[in-house]
Protein backbone atom coordinates (compact mmCIF):
# COMPACT_ATOMS: atom_id res chain seq x y z
CA UNK A 1 0.00 0.00 0.00
CA UNK A 2 1.17 3.54 -0.78
CA UNK A 3 0.02 6.55 1.23
CA UNK A 4 0.41 10.28 0.75
CA UNK A 5 1.86 11.37 4.09
CA UNK A 6 2.66 15.06 3.63
CA UNK A 7 2.61 17.76 1.00
CA UNK A 8 3.70 21.37 0.72
CA UNK A 9 3.47 24.22 -1.75
CA UNK A 10 5.87 27.11 -1.83
CA UNK A 11 5.66 30.26 -3.95
CA UNK A 12 7.18 32.91 -1.70
CA UNK A 13 10.97 33.03 -1.65
CA UNK A 14 11.01 36.24 0.38
CA UNK A 15 9.26 34.34 3.13
CA UNK A 16 11.78 31.51 2.91
CA UNK A 17 14.63 34.01 3.13
CA UNK A 18 13.09 35.68 6.17
CA UNK A 19 11.84 32.67 8.10
CA UNK A 20 14.40 30.00 7.23
CA UNK A 21 17.80 31.68 6.98
CA UNK A 22 19.69 28.39 7.16
CA UNK A 23 17.72 26.88 4.29
CA UNK A 24 18.12 30.11 2.34
CA UNK A 25 21.90 29.92 2.72
CA UNK A 26 21.77 26.47 1.16
CA UNK A 27 19.61 27.42 -1.80
CA UNK A 28 20.32 31.09 -2.52
CA UNK A 29 22.72 30.51 -5.43
CA UNK A 30 20.28 28.28 -7.30
CA UNK A 31 17.63 29.41 -9.72
CA UNK A 32 14.02 29.95 -8.72
CA UNK A 33 12.52 26.54 -9.63
CA UNK A 34 15.21 24.77 -7.64
CA UNK A 35 14.84 27.11 -4.66
CA UNK A 36 11.08 26.61 -4.59
CA UNK A 37 11.29 22.82 -4.96
CA UNK A 38 13.85 22.57 -2.16
CA UNK A 39 11.86 24.85 0.12
CA UNK A 40 8.74 22.71 -0.39
CA UNK A 41 10.77 19.53 0.16
CA UNK A 42 12.15 20.97 3.39
CA UNK A 43 8.58 21.30 4.65
CA UNK A 44 7.55 17.71 3.99
CA UNK A 45 10.76 16.00 5.07
CA UNK A 46 9.94 16.99 8.66
CA UNK A 47 7.47 14.12 8.49
CA UNK A 48 9.88 11.56 7.05
CA UNK A 49 11.10 8.80 9.33
CA UNK A 50 14.53 8.87 7.68
CA UNK A 51 15.23 11.52 5.03
CA UNK A 52 18.52 9.78 4.19
CA UNK A 53 16.88 6.60 2.90
CA UNK A 54 13.80 7.91 1.10
CA UNK A 55 13.73 7.49 -2.67
CA UNK A 56 14.06 10.88 -4.34
CA UNK A 57 12.08 11.61 -7.47
CA UNK A 58 12.63 15.09 -8.80
CA UNK A 59 11.01 16.88 -11.71
CA UNK A 60 13.16 19.24 -13.75
CA UNK A 61 11.44 22.51 -14.62
CA UNK A 62 9.74 22.88 -17.98
CA UNK A 63 10.93 26.50 -17.98
CA UNK A 64 14.49 26.01 -16.72
CA UNK A 65 17.19 28.58 -16.17
CA UNK A 66 17.05 32.09 -14.86
CA UNK A 67 16.91 35.64 -16.12
CA UNK A 68 20.71 35.77 -15.69
CA UNK A 69 21.16 32.64 -17.75
CA UNK A 70 18.95 33.89 -20.57
CA UNK A 71 20.76 37.18 -20.60
CA UNK A 72 24.02 35.31 -20.82
CA UNK A 73 22.67 33.12 -23.58
CA UNK A 74 21.96 36.23 -25.65
CA UNK A 75 25.50 37.49 -25.04
CA UNK A 76 27.02 34.22 -26.19
CA UNK A 77 24.88 33.70 -29.24
CA UNK A 78 25.29 37.25 -30.45
CA UNK A 79 29.04 37.04 -29.82
CA UNK A 80 29.12 33.79 -31.77
CA UNK A 81 27.45 35.46 -34.71
CA UNK A 82 29.89 38.35 -34.71
CA UNK A 83 33.00 36.27 -33.87
CA UNK A 84 33.66 38.32 -30.73
CA UNK A 85 33.46 35.71 -28.01
CA UNK A 86 37.16 35.91 -27.23
CA UNK A 87 37.93 34.88 -23.68
CA UNK A 88 34.37 35.33 -22.44
CA UNK A 89 33.91 33.57 -19.09
CA UNK A 90 30.70 32.22 -17.63
CA UNK A 91 29.89 32.49 -13.95
CA UNK A 92 29.79 28.85 -12.76
CA UNK A 93 26.69 29.63 -10.72
CA UNK A 94 24.88 30.49 -13.91
CA UNK A 95 26.04 27.23 -15.48
CA UNK A 96 24.33 25.48 -12.57
CA UNK A 97 21.09 27.24 -13.51
CA UNK A 98 21.05 25.22 -16.72
CA UNK A 99 21.51 21.86 -15.00
CA UNK A 100 18.44 19.62 -14.97
CA UNK A 101 19.21 17.53 -11.87
CA UNK A 102 20.24 20.36 -9.58
CA UNK A 103 17.37 20.12 -7.09
CA UNK A 104 17.93 16.38 -6.66
CA UNK A 105 21.66 16.86 -6.08
CA UNK A 106 21.17 19.70 -3.63
CA UNK A 107 18.54 17.73 -1.73
CA UNK A 108 20.83 14.68 -1.50
CA UNK A 109 23.69 16.76 -0.15
CA UNK A 110 21.49 18.49 2.44
CA UNK A 111 19.97 15.23 3.69
CA UNK A 112 22.95 12.87 3.18
CA UNK A 113 20.68 10.83 0.94
CA UNK A 114 22.39 8.01 -1.02
CA UNK A 115 19.17 6.23 -1.95
CA UNK A 116 17.57 5.50 -5.30
CA UNK A 117 16.93 8.67 -7.29
CA UNK A 118 15.02 9.45 -10.45
CA UNK A 119 15.29 12.78 -12.21
CA UNK A 120 12.46 13.33 -14.68
CA UNK A 121 13.01 15.95 -17.36
CA UNK A 122 11.21 19.12 -18.28
CA UNK A 123 8.66 17.70 -20.70
CA UNK A 124 4.94 18.17 -20.19
CA UNK A 125 3.20 15.74 -17.87
CA UNK A 126 6.24 14.08 -16.31
CA UNK A 127 4.73 14.68 -12.86
CA UNK A 128 2.40 11.71 -13.44
CA UNK A 129 5.36 9.54 -14.41
CA UNK A 130 6.79 10.59 -11.07
CA UNK A 131 3.68 9.42 -9.22
CA UNK A 132 3.73 6.18 -11.20
CA UNK A 133 7.37 5.66 -10.23
CA UNK A 134 6.57 6.30 -6.56
CA UNK A 135 3.77 3.73 -6.73
CA UNK A 136 5.99 1.17 -8.50
CA UNK A 137 8.83 1.43 -6.03
CA UNK A 138 6.88 1.61 -2.77
CA UNK A 139 4.46 -1.11 -3.85
CA UNK A 140 7.42 -3.35 -4.64
CA UNK A 141 8.88 -2.70 -1.20
CA UNK A 142 12.06 -1.18 -2.59
CA UNK A 143 11.81 1.79 -0.22
CA UNK A 144 9.51 2.75 2.66
CA UNK A 145 9.25 6.41 1.77
CA UNK A 146 9.59 8.49 -1.38
CA UNK A 147 9.80 12.19 -2.00
CA UNK A 148 8.38 13.68 -5.19
CA UNK A 149 9.36 17.31 -5.71
CA UNK A 150 8.97 19.87 -8.46
CA UNK A 151 9.71 23.51 -9.03
CA UNK A 152 8.93 25.62 -12.04
CA UNK A 153 8.30 29.18 -13.17
CA UNK A 154 5.95 30.81 -15.62
CA UNK A 155 8.89 32.09 -17.64
CA UNK A 156 12.62 32.01 -17.02
CA UNK A 157 13.56 35.19 -18.86
CA UNK A 158 11.93 37.79 -16.66
CA UNK A 159 11.74 36.54 -13.09
CA UNK A 160 8.02 35.81 -13.33
CA UNK A 161 6.19 33.84 -10.60
CA UNK A 162 7.13 30.30 -9.69
CA UNK A 163 5.82 27.40 -7.66
CA UNK A 164 7.43 24.56 -5.74
CA UNK A 165 5.55 21.44 -4.69
CA UNK A 166 6.67 18.45 -2.66
CA UNK A 167 4.82 15.26 -1.77
CA UNK A 168 6.02 12.63 0.66
CA UNK A 169 4.70 9.10 0.22
CA UNK A 170 5.02 6.19 2.61
CA UNK A 171 4.18 2.52 2.83
CA UNK A 172 2.73 3.19 6.30
CA UNK A 173 -0.74 4.59 6.79
CA UNK A 174 -0.20 7.87 8.57
CA UNK A 175 -2.57 10.85 8.46
CA UNK A 176 -1.87 13.13 5.54
CA UNK A 177 -0.57 16.51 6.63
CA UNK A 178 -2.16 19.03 6.75
CA UNK A 179 -5.60 17.39 6.33
CA UNK A 180 -5.22 14.77 9.08
CA UNK A 181 -6.85 12.12 6.89
CA UNK A 182 -5.45 8.88 5.48
CA UNK A 183 -4.88 9.26 1.73
CA UNK A 184 -4.02 6.08 -0.15
CA UNK A 185 -2.65 6.21 -3.68
CA UNK A 186 -4.45 3.37 -5.42
CA UNK A 187 -3.36 3.65 -9.04
CA UNK A 188 -2.51 5.85 -11.99
CA UNK A 189 -4.15 4.85 -15.26
CA UNK A 190 -3.90 6.21 -18.78
CA UNK A 191 -5.84 6.06 -21.99
CA UNK A 192 -4.77 7.58 -25.31
CA UNK A 193 -5.87 11.14 -26.06
CA UNK A 194 -4.24 13.94 -28.01
CA UNK A 195 -4.68 17.23 -26.16
CA UNK A 196 -3.04 20.63 -25.85
CA UNK A 197 -0.78 21.06 -22.84
CA UNK A 198 0.75 23.88 -20.82
CA UNK A 199 4.13 22.47 -19.73
CA UNK A 200 4.80 23.16 -16.06
CA UNK A 201 6.43 20.77 -13.62
CA UNK A 202 4.57 21.87 -10.49
CA UNK A 203 1.11 23.13 -11.47
CA UNK A 204 -0.36 19.69 -12.07
CA UNK A 205 0.69 18.39 -8.67
CA UNK A 206 -0.61 21.54 -6.98
CA UNK A 207 -3.98 21.06 -8.66
CA UNK A 208 -4.09 17.46 -7.46
CA UNK A 209 -3.41 18.60 -3.89
CA UNK A 210 -6.20 21.18 -4.11
CA UNK A 211 -8.59 18.51 -5.35
CA UNK A 212 -7.66 16.20 -2.48
CA UNK A 213 -8.25 19.01 0.02
CA UNK A 214 -11.74 19.61 -1.35
CA UNK A 215 -12.76 15.98 -1.74
CA UNK A 216 -15.23 14.64 0.82
CA UNK A 217 -16.00 11.07 -0.30
CA UNK A 218 -13.89 8.00 0.37
CA UNK A 219 -13.15 7.16 -3.25
CA UNK A 220 -11.53 9.79 -5.39
CA UNK A 221 -10.97 9.45 -9.12
CA UNK A 222 -8.98 12.48 -10.21
CA UNK A 223 -8.96 13.05 -13.94
CA UNK A 224 -5.93 15.19 -14.68
CA UNK A 225 -6.91 18.36 -16.58
CA UNK A 226 -5.72 18.04 -20.19
CA UNK A 227 -3.37 21.03 -19.86
CA UNK A 228 -1.45 19.20 -17.13
CA UNK A 229 -0.99 15.93 -19.06
CA UNK A 230 1.76 14.90 -21.46
CA UNK A 231 -0.46 15.65 -24.44
CA UNK A 232 -0.85 11.98 -25.34
CA UNK A 233 -2.99 10.58 -22.55
CA UNK A 234 -6.01 11.00 -20.38
CA UNK A 235 -4.61 10.33 -16.93
CA UNK A 236 -6.64 9.27 -13.92
CA UNK A 237 -5.24 9.12 -10.40
CA UNK A 238 -7.28 6.89 -8.09
CA UNK A 239 -7.13 7.59 -4.34
CA UNK A 240 -8.92 6.47 -1.21
CA UNK A 241 -9.38 9.05 1.52
CA UNK A 242 -10.50 8.10 5.00
Amino acid sequence: MVYLMAAARQDDLAKVRGEKPELWRQVRRYNKPVQLALAAADEVMRFASDPATAAVISLAPCQPGSADLYSWGHVVTSGMASGTLGNLRMNPTQTLHAVDNLAMSAFAIAHRNHAYCLGLGGAAGQAWCGIEAVHERLSAGLEEESLLMAGDQDAAEDGSPGLGVALLFSTRAKPFQPLDRIVRLVSVSRSPAIVDVVPHAANGLAALLSAIAEHRDRVMSYVVPPAHTDGFSTITVALEIS
Binding site: T77, N101, A108
Partner: protein, 385 residues
Protein backbone atom coordinates in the same frame (compact mmCIF):
# COMPACT_ATOMS: atom_id res chain seq x y z
CA UNK B 1 12.99 -13.90 -9.96
CA UNK B 2 10.54 -16.37 -11.45
CA UNK B 3 7.73 -13.82 -11.89
CA UNK B 4 10.04 -11.35 -13.59
CA UNK B 5 10.68 -11.18 -17.30
CA UNK B 6 14.15 -11.52 -18.75
CA UNK B 7 15.07 -8.41 -20.75
CA UNK B 8 17.18 -8.46 -23.91
CA UNK B 9 18.58 -5.96 -26.37
CA UNK B 10 17.41 -6.54 -29.93
CA UNK B 11 18.32 -3.30 -31.69
CA UNK B 12 20.82 -0.48 -31.34
CA UNK B 13 21.50 2.84 -33.04
CA UNK B 14 24.39 5.22 -32.44
CA UNK B 15 25.49 8.56 -33.83
CA UNK B 16 28.82 9.67 -32.47
CA UNK B 17 32.03 11.40 -33.42
CA UNK B 18 33.17 8.07 -34.87
CA UNK B 19 30.28 7.86 -37.32
CA UNK B 20 26.57 7.47 -37.79
CA UNK B 21 26.25 3.75 -37.07
CA UNK B 22 26.97 1.33 -34.26
CA UNK B 23 29.34 -0.47 -36.63
CA UNK B 24 31.42 2.69 -37.17
CA UNK B 25 31.48 3.31 -33.43
CA UNK B 26 32.71 -0.21 -32.69
CA UNK B 27 35.22 -0.35 -35.55
CA UNK B 28 36.65 3.05 -34.60
CA UNK B 29 37.14 1.95 -31.02
CA UNK B 30 38.81 -1.31 -32.04
CA UNK B 31 41.15 0.71 -34.29
CA UNK B 32 42.07 2.87 -31.27
CA UNK B 33 40.89 5.90 -33.24
CA UNK B 34 39.41 9.15 -31.99
CA UNK B 35 36.72 11.23 -33.62
CA UNK B 36 37.45 14.21 -31.37
CA UNK B 37 38.91 17.05 -33.36
CA UNK B 38 39.15 20.80 -33.68
CA UNK B 39 35.82 22.19 -34.88
CA UNK B 40 36.28 25.02 -37.35
CA UNK B 41 33.11 26.93 -36.44
CA UNK B 42 34.31 27.06 -32.84
CA UNK B 43 37.73 28.29 -33.91
CA UNK B 44 36.03 31.09 -35.83
CA UNK B 45 34.04 32.11 -32.76
CA UNK B 46 37.28 32.77 -30.88
CA UNK B 47 36.44 30.80 -27.73
CA UNK B 48 39.10 28.93 -25.75
CA UNK B 49 37.57 25.49 -26.23
CA UNK B 50 37.55 24.45 -29.86
CA UNK B 51 37.76 20.66 -29.69
CA UNK B 52 34.83 18.33 -29.52
CA UNK B 53 33.16 15.24 -30.78
CA UNK B 54 30.99 16.36 -33.65
CA UNK B 55 28.40 14.23 -35.42
CA UNK B 56 28.93 14.86 -39.11
CA UNK B 57 25.74 13.15 -40.23
CA UNK B 58 23.54 16.16 -39.33
CA UNK B 59 24.55 19.72 -40.20
CA UNK B 60 25.43 22.04 -37.30
CA UNK B 61 23.41 24.71 -39.12
CA UNK B 62 20.28 22.64 -38.64
CA UNK B 63 18.33 24.14 -35.73
CA UNK B 64 16.45 20.85 -35.49
CA UNK B 65 19.77 19.09 -34.95
CA UNK B 66 18.83 17.76 -31.51
CA UNK B 67 15.69 16.18 -32.91
CA UNK B 68 17.37 14.86 -36.07
CA UNK B 69 20.26 13.21 -34.27
CA UNK B 70 17.95 11.51 -31.81
CA UNK B 71 15.50 10.32 -34.42
CA UNK B 72 18.20 8.75 -36.57
CA UNK B 73 19.51 6.70 -33.67
CA UNK B 74 15.97 5.67 -32.71
CA UNK B 75 15.08 4.71 -36.29
CA UNK B 76 18.26 2.62 -36.63
CA UNK B 77 17.56 0.77 -33.40
CA UNK B 78 13.94 0.08 -34.36
CA UNK B 79 14.95 -1.05 -37.85
CA UNK B 80 17.55 -3.45 -36.48
CA UNK B 81 15.04 -4.82 -34.01
CA UNK B 82 12.24 -4.92 -36.60
CA UNK B 83 9.83 -3.34 -34.12
CA UNK B 84 7.44 -0.40 -34.50
CA UNK B 85 7.57 2.62 -32.22
CA UNK B 86 3.83 2.32 -31.67
CA UNK B 87 4.41 -0.93 -29.80
CA UNK B 88 7.14 0.40 -27.51
CA UNK B 89 7.54 2.56 -24.45
CA UNK B 90 10.00 5.40 -24.64
CA UNK B 91 12.51 6.13 -21.87
CA UNK B 92 14.82 8.85 -23.07
CA UNK B 93 16.92 11.81 -22.13
CA UNK B 94 17.25 14.83 -24.36
CA UNK B 95 19.72 16.51 -22.04
CA UNK B 96 19.65 20.20 -21.32
CA UNK B 97 18.00 23.20 -22.90
CA UNK B 98 20.43 25.18 -24.96
CA UNK B 99 20.82 28.39 -26.90
CA UNK B 100 22.10 28.68 -30.42
CA UNK B 101 21.97 30.98 -33.41
CA UNK B 102 19.47 30.09 -36.09
CA UNK B 103 18.89 31.81 -39.41
CA UNK B 104 16.38 34.08 -37.64
CA UNK B 105 18.65 34.82 -34.68
CA UNK B 106 18.60 33.62 -31.10
CA UNK B 107 17.04 30.18 -30.64
CA UNK B 108 16.19 28.63 -27.29
CA UNK B 109 16.04 24.86 -27.71
CA UNK B 110 13.83 23.20 -25.12
CA UNK B 111 14.91 19.69 -24.18
CA UNK B 112 11.41 19.01 -22.91
CA UNK B 113 9.79 19.99 -26.17
CA UNK B 114 12.30 17.87 -28.08
CA UNK B 115 11.41 14.91 -25.87
CA UNK B 116 7.67 15.40 -26.44
CA UNK B 117 8.19 15.54 -30.20
CA UNK B 118 10.24 12.35 -30.14
CA UNK B 119 7.78 10.62 -27.81
CA UNK B 120 4.72 11.34 -29.93
CA UNK B 121 5.06 8.19 -32.06
CA UNK B 122 5.54 5.84 -29.11
CA UNK B 123 3.06 4.07 -26.88
CA UNK B 124 3.54 4.57 -23.16
CA UNK B 125 5.22 4.77 -20.82
CA UNK B 126 7.04 7.92 -21.92
CA UNK B 127 9.56 9.00 -19.34
CA UNK B 128 12.12 11.75 -19.80
CA UNK B 129 15.21 11.08 -17.71
CA UNK B 130 17.20 13.99 -16.25
CA UNK B 131 20.27 12.77 -14.40
CA UNK B 132 23.00 14.75 -16.15
CA UNK B 133 25.81 12.46 -17.40
CA UNK B 134 24.13 9.40 -15.89
CA UNK B 135 20.92 9.91 -17.88
CA UNK B 136 21.62 7.46 -20.71
CA UNK B 137 22.49 4.63 -18.36
CA UNK B 138 19.52 5.36 -16.14
CA UNK B 139 17.24 5.36 -19.18
CA UNK B 140 18.42 1.84 -20.04
CA UNK B 141 18.02 0.79 -16.42
CA UNK B 142 14.53 2.23 -16.02
CA UNK B 143 13.39 0.60 -19.27
CA UNK B 144 14.86 -2.69 -18.04
CA UNK B 145 12.90 -2.39 -14.80
CA UNK B 146 9.58 -1.57 -16.51
CA UNK B 147 9.94 -4.54 -18.89
CA UNK B 148 11.20 -6.88 -16.19
CA UNK B 149 8.14 -6.09 -14.04
CA UNK B 150 5.74 -6.67 -16.91
CA UNK B 151 4.56 -3.08 -17.27
CA UNK B 152 5.49 -2.98 -20.94
CA UNK B 153 6.74 -5.55 -23.45
CA UNK B 154 9.32 -3.37 -25.17
CA UNK B 155 10.94 0.03 -24.85
CA UNK B 156 13.26 2.25 -26.78
CA UNK B 157 15.75 3.62 -24.28
CA UNK B 158 18.63 6.03 -24.60
CA UNK B 159 19.52 9.63 -24.95
CA UNK B 160 20.70 12.40 -27.19
CA UNK B 161 22.61 15.62 -26.69
CA UNK B 162 23.71 18.61 -28.68
CA UNK B 163 26.49 20.06 -26.56
CA UNK B 164 28.88 21.62 -29.09
CA UNK B 165 27.54 25.12 -28.70
CA UNK B 166 29.53 28.04 -27.30
CA UNK B 167 26.95 28.24 -24.53
CA UNK B 168 27.96 24.90 -23.08
CA UNK B 169 31.61 24.96 -24.08
CA UNK B 170 32.12 28.19 -22.15
CA UNK B 171 29.85 27.05 -19.35
CA UNK B 172 31.66 23.77 -18.74
CA UNK B 173 35.01 25.49 -19.10
CA UNK B 174 33.91 27.67 -16.19
CA UNK B 175 33.38 24.51 -14.16
CA UNK B 176 36.93 23.40 -15.09
CA UNK B 177 35.54 20.19 -16.55
CA UNK B 178 36.52 20.44 -20.22
CA UNK B 179 39.95 20.40 -21.80
CA UNK B 180 41.00 23.96 -22.71
CA UNK B 181 43.03 24.43 -25.89
CA UNK B 182 46.72 24.85 -25.16
CA UNK B 183 48.34 24.02 -28.44
CA UNK B 184 48.13 20.26 -28.04
CA UNK B 185 46.99 17.95 -30.77
CA UNK B 186 43.16 18.31 -30.60
CA UNK B 187 42.74 14.56 -31.00
CA UNK B 188 44.49 14.16 -27.64
CA UNK B 189 42.13 16.53 -25.83
CA UNK B 190 40.48 13.82 -23.75
CA UNK B 191 42.82 11.33 -22.04
CA UNK B 192 40.98 9.18 -19.50
CA UNK B 193 43.04 7.96 -16.54
CA UNK B 194 46.22 9.43 -18.10
CA UNK B 195 48.79 11.56 -16.25
CA UNK B 196 48.22 14.31 -18.81
CA UNK B 197 44.43 14.35 -18.56
CA UNK B 198 42.85 17.78 -18.30
CA UNK B 199 39.14 17.20 -18.68
CA UNK B 200 36.75 15.92 -21.29
CA UNK B 201 35.86 17.04 -24.77
CA UNK B 202 32.18 17.86 -25.12
CA UNK B 203 30.36 15.99 -27.85
CA UNK B 204 27.12 15.68 -29.70
CA UNK B 205 25.61 12.25 -30.03
CA UNK B 206 22.71 9.89 -29.66
CA UNK B 207 22.33 6.29 -28.69
CA UNK B 208 19.21 4.15 -28.74
CA UNK B 209 18.49 0.60 -27.66
CA UNK B 210 15.43 -1.54 -28.16
CA UNK B 211 14.84 -3.62 -25.04
CA UNK B 212 12.15 -6.26 -24.86
CA UNK B 213 11.18 -9.40 -23.06
CA UNK B 214 13.10 -12.52 -23.97
CA UNK B 215 9.78 -14.21 -24.78
CA UNK B 216 8.91 -11.48 -27.25
CA UNK B 217 12.34 -11.62 -28.89
CA UNK B 218 12.14 -15.40 -29.23
CA UNK B 219 8.63 -15.28 -30.63
CA UNK B 220 9.81 -12.80 -33.26
CA UNK B 221 13.03 -14.73 -33.87
CA UNK B 222 14.92 -11.48 -33.24
CA UNK B 223 18.68 -11.25 -32.89
CA UNK B 224 19.60 -10.87 -29.23
CA UNK B 225 22.77 -8.81 -28.75
CA UNK B 226 22.87 -8.94 -24.99
CA UNK B 227 20.70 -9.40 -21.94
CA UNK B 228 20.27 -6.70 -19.28
CA UNK B 229 20.47 -8.43 -15.91
CA UNK B 230 21.01 -5.70 -13.33
CA UNK B 231 20.56 -2.00 -12.60
CA UNK B 232 21.60 0.20 -9.70
CA UNK B 233 21.37 3.89 -8.80
CA UNK B 234 22.83 5.96 -6.00
CA UNK B 235 23.57 9.52 -5.04
CA UNK B 236 26.93 10.80 -3.83
CA UNK B 237 25.35 13.40 -1.53
CA UNK B 238 28.74 15.07 -1.47
CA UNK B 239 29.26 18.01 -3.84
CA UNK B 240 27.62 19.55 -6.91
CA UNK B 241 30.78 19.60 -9.00
CA UNK B 242 32.97 16.70 -7.96
CA UNK B 243 32.67 13.16 -6.62
CA UNK B 244 33.77 12.06 -3.19
CA UNK B 245 37.47 11.15 -3.31
CA UNK B 246 37.00 7.50 -2.39
CA UNK B 247 34.30 6.95 -5.00
CA UNK B 248 31.85 5.73 -2.37
CA UNK B 249 28.76 6.80 -4.30
CA UNK B 250 30.00 5.17 -7.49
CA UNK B 251 30.84 1.97 -5.66
CA UNK B 252 27.38 1.92 -4.09
CA UNK B 253 25.54 2.03 -7.42
CA UNK B 254 27.79 -0.72 -8.82
CA UNK B 255 27.12 -2.92 -5.80
CA UNK B 256 23.39 -2.31 -6.17
CA UNK B 257 23.54 -3.31 -9.83
CA UNK B 258 25.43 -6.49 -8.98
CA UNK B 259 22.96 -7.33 -6.22
CA UNK B 260 20.09 -6.74 -8.62
CA UNK B 261 21.77 -9.11 -11.09
CA UNK B 262 22.40 -11.61 -8.29
CA UNK B 263 26.07 -11.65 -9.20
CA UNK B 264 29.29 -11.43 -7.23
CA UNK B 265 31.93 -8.94 -8.35
CA UNK B 266 34.17 -11.81 -9.46
CA UNK B 267 31.60 -12.75 -12.09
CA UNK B 268 32.15 -9.49 -13.99
CA UNK B 269 34.41 -10.01 -17.01
CA UNK B 270 34.95 -6.37 -18.06
CA UNK B 271 33.98 -2.81 -17.21
CA UNK B 272 32.92 0.00 -19.49
CA UNK B 273 34.01 2.94 -17.37
CA UNK B 274 32.61 6.46 -17.20
CA UNK B 275 36.20 7.75 -17.60
CA UNK B 276 35.65 11.46 -18.15
CA UNK B 277 39.34 12.40 -17.93
CA UNK B 278 38.61 14.92 -15.20
CA UNK B 279 41.23 14.87 -12.46
CA UNK B 280 38.96 14.01 -9.55
CA UNK B 281 36.44 11.95 -11.52
CA UNK B 282 38.96 9.40 -12.78
CA UNK B 283 40.58 9.06 -9.36
CA UNK B 284 37.22 8.44 -7.68
CA UNK B 285 36.13 5.95 -10.33
CA UNK B 286 39.39 3.99 -10.14
CA UNK B 287 39.15 3.90 -6.36
CA UNK B 288 35.58 2.63 -6.54
CA UNK B 289 36.46 -0.13 -9.01
CA UNK B 290 39.44 -1.27 -6.95
CA UNK B 291 37.23 -1.53 -3.87
CA UNK B 292 34.51 -3.35 -5.82
CA UNK B 293 36.86 -5.98 -7.22
CA UNK B 294 39.07 -6.15 -4.11
CA UNK B 295 42.09 -8.39 -4.72
CA UNK B 296 40.94 -9.13 -8.28
CA UNK B 297 41.14 -5.54 -9.54
CA UNK B 298 44.28 -6.18 -11.60
CA UNK B 299 42.44 -8.86 -13.59
CA UNK B 300 39.26 -7.12 -14.75
CA UNK B 301 39.76 -5.27 -18.06
CA UNK B 302 38.55 -1.67 -17.94
CA UNK B 303 37.83 0.47 -20.99
CA UNK B 304 36.47 3.98 -21.48
CA UNK B 305 35.26 5.56 -24.71
CA UNK B 306 35.35 9.32 -24.10
CA UNK B 307 38.84 9.67 -25.55
CA UNK B 308 37.35 8.44 -28.82
CA UNK B 309 33.92 10.10 -28.94
CA UNK B 310 34.06 12.82 -26.29
CA UNK B 311 31.41 13.30 -23.62
CA UNK B 312 27.95 13.31 -25.13
CA UNK B 313 26.29 13.92 -21.76
CA UNK B 314 22.71 12.57 -21.95
CA UNK B 315 23.78 10.17 -24.69
CA UNK B 316 27.04 9.10 -23.06
CA UNK B 317 25.66 6.31 -20.89
CA UNK B 318 23.69 4.62 -23.64
CA UNK B 319 26.53 4.90 -26.16
CA UNK B 320 28.69 3.17 -23.55
CA UNK B 321 26.01 0.54 -22.94
CA UNK B 322 25.98 -0.10 -26.69
CA UNK B 323 29.74 -0.63 -26.57
CA UNK B 324 29.30 -2.91 -23.56
CA UNK B 325 26.67 -4.91 -25.44
CA UNK B 326 29.11 -5.32 -28.35
CA UNK B 327 31.72 -6.51 -25.87
CA UNK B 328 29.24 -9.06 -24.53
CA UNK B 329 28.38 -10.23 -28.02
CA UNK B 330 31.96 -10.49 -29.30
CA UNK B 331 33.98 -11.01 -26.15
CA UNK B 332 36.36 -8.18 -27.08
CA UNK B 333 37.18 -5.20 -24.88
CA UNK B 334 38.14 -2.10 -26.89
CA UNK B 335 41.09 0.06 -25.81
CA UNK B 336 40.79 3.35 -23.95
CA UNK B 337 41.77 5.77 -26.69
CA UNK B 338 44.40 8.34 -25.63
CA UNK B 339 45.46 6.47 -22.52
CA UNK B 340 49.22 6.11 -22.61
CA UNK B 341 50.63 6.74 -19.16
CA UNK B 342 48.34 5.72 -16.30
CA UNK B 343 48.24 8.29 -13.52
CA UNK B 344 49.02 7.46 -9.93
CA UNK B 345 45.75 6.59 -8.24
CA UNK B 346 44.12 5.53 -11.51
CA UNK B 347 45.63 2.05 -11.58
CA UNK B 348 43.29 -0.60 -12.99
CA UNK B 349 43.62 -3.34 -15.61
CA UNK B 350 43.37 -0.75 -18.39
CA UNK B 351 43.07 -1.89 -21.98
CA UNK B 352 45.66 0.24 -23.77
CA UNK B 353 46.66 0.53 -27.41
CA UNK B 354 44.76 -2.38 -28.89
CA UNK B 355 41.62 -4.38 -28.16
CA UNK B 356 41.79 -7.37 -25.90
CA UNK B 357 39.93 -10.58 -26.68
CA UNK B 358 39.07 -12.05 -23.29
CA UNK B 359 35.80 -13.74 -24.24
CA UNK B 360 34.01 -11.30 -21.96
CA UNK B 361 30.40 -12.37 -21.43
CA UNK B 362 29.30 -10.21 -18.50
CA UNK B 363 30.03 -6.48 -18.54
CA UNK B 364 29.41 -3.70 -16.04
CA UNK B 365 28.70 -0.30 -17.64
CA UNK B 366 28.70 2.75 -15.38
CA UNK B 367 27.93 6.48 -15.53
CA UNK B 368 28.34 9.17 -12.91
CA UNK B 369 26.46 12.42 -13.30
CA UNK B 370 27.59 15.88 -12.35
CA UNK B 371 25.76 16.57 -9.13
CA UNK B 372 26.26 13.04 -7.87
CA UNK B 373 23.74 10.75 -9.57
CA UNK B 374 25.36 7.38 -10.28
CA UNK B 375 23.98 4.63 -12.52
CA UNK B 376 25.18 1.15 -13.41
CA UNK B 377 23.83 -1.64 -15.57
CA UNK B 378 25.04 -5.21 -15.95
CA UNK B 379 24.86 -6.78 -19.39
CA UNK B 380 25.34 -10.43 -20.29
CA UNK B 381 25.94 -12.16 -23.59
CA UNK B 382 22.65 -12.92 -25.37
CA UNK B 383 21.48 -16.31 -26.50
CA UNK B 384 22.59 -15.79 -30.09
CA UNK B 385 24.95 -12.90 -29.58
Amino acid sequence: MSDKHRVVITGMGALSALGATTRELWDGLLANRTGVRQVQRLVESGITVTTGGEVDAVSPENVERDYEIANRAIDDALAESKRDAAGCGFIWSTGLDTFQMGSDGFVHRSAGRCFSNLASRFAGPRRMIAAACASGTQAVGEAFRLIQNGQVEACVAGGSSVMLTPFYLIGFAGLQAVAIDNGDDPSLACRPFDKKRKGFALADGAGAMVLETLESAQERNATVFAEVIGFGMSQDAFDLNRPCDDGAGAELCMRRALADAELMAEEIDAVNAHATATYSGDLAEAAALRKLFADRWRDVPVSGSKGAIGHAMAAAGVLEAIIAAQTCARGIVPPTVNLHDVDEGCELDHVIGEPRDVNAETVLSVSFGMGGQNAAVVLKRGLNG
